[in-house]
Subunit: 123 residues, 2 copies
């Protein structure tokens, strides 16, 4: 009953910079209750909570109640949709900016690592 139409999709969810930061924070913190998330931002607890709910609605964050606190954890799955959408433009790049692609392959300059599995793609 009540197939909750999500109301917020991934695209919308990541449109806000605070929410993007939230994702990164949760990503390497693992799981955090609202109380510990809040001090990382300059906005009120209520505002942070709202953002987390938007993210949850979009499926990017999972809630879990533990005692009186609610712990939030990241879930990257919905980002796959974004990836797929981005893939529509891949060919475009290969035509025009093979050089810039390098920026993608090595985000920070850690190791070579060949992310992208672009291996032996036929034309």
């Amino acid at each position: 009953m009540g197939l909750q139409k999500p109301k917020h999709d991934v695209y919308q969810a990541i449109a806000d910079p605070t929410r993007r930061q939230l994702l990164l924070l949760l990503q390497d913190a693992g799981e955090l209750p609202l109380k510990e998330v809040t001090p990382h931002f300059a906005i009120t607890r209520a505002a942070v909570s709202k953002h987390l709910h938007v993210l949850t609605d979009a499926g990017l964050v999972r809630e879990r109640k533990v005692g009186r606190e609610t712990r939030y954890r990241m879930d990257p799955d919905p980002l796959l949709e974004l990836r797929r959408w981005l893939a529509f433009f891949d060919l475009y790049w290969e035509n025009k900016l093979s050089a810039l692609k390098l920026l993608v392959e090595e985000p920070e300059g850690e190791g070579p690592a060949e992310i992208g599995s672009d291996g032996g793609s036929s034309s």
Copy 2:
């Protein structure tokens, strides 16, 4: 003079479904004047124009005046930022959803592609 702070970034620009469609349309149409873009949507010319301006502001679309018409063309460059941002979550996936990754590699499901065969990925 006037370094125009963009006001719209890529994340915001692609948050709207109409704008995402616009990008796809322009991508395979190459370059179109507003007059020809409009009929693809159920909204007014003015609304389409606004969306195109948001996209232009974000750098995803280029304008070019030709006579009395303004032609719009896609520019995928800013999407690289999105890609780089997405890359932050790559490791996450490799830990949990190596299977789903296949969905990314092949957007529409053309060939069978050995789903589940975890190949020779190191730990």
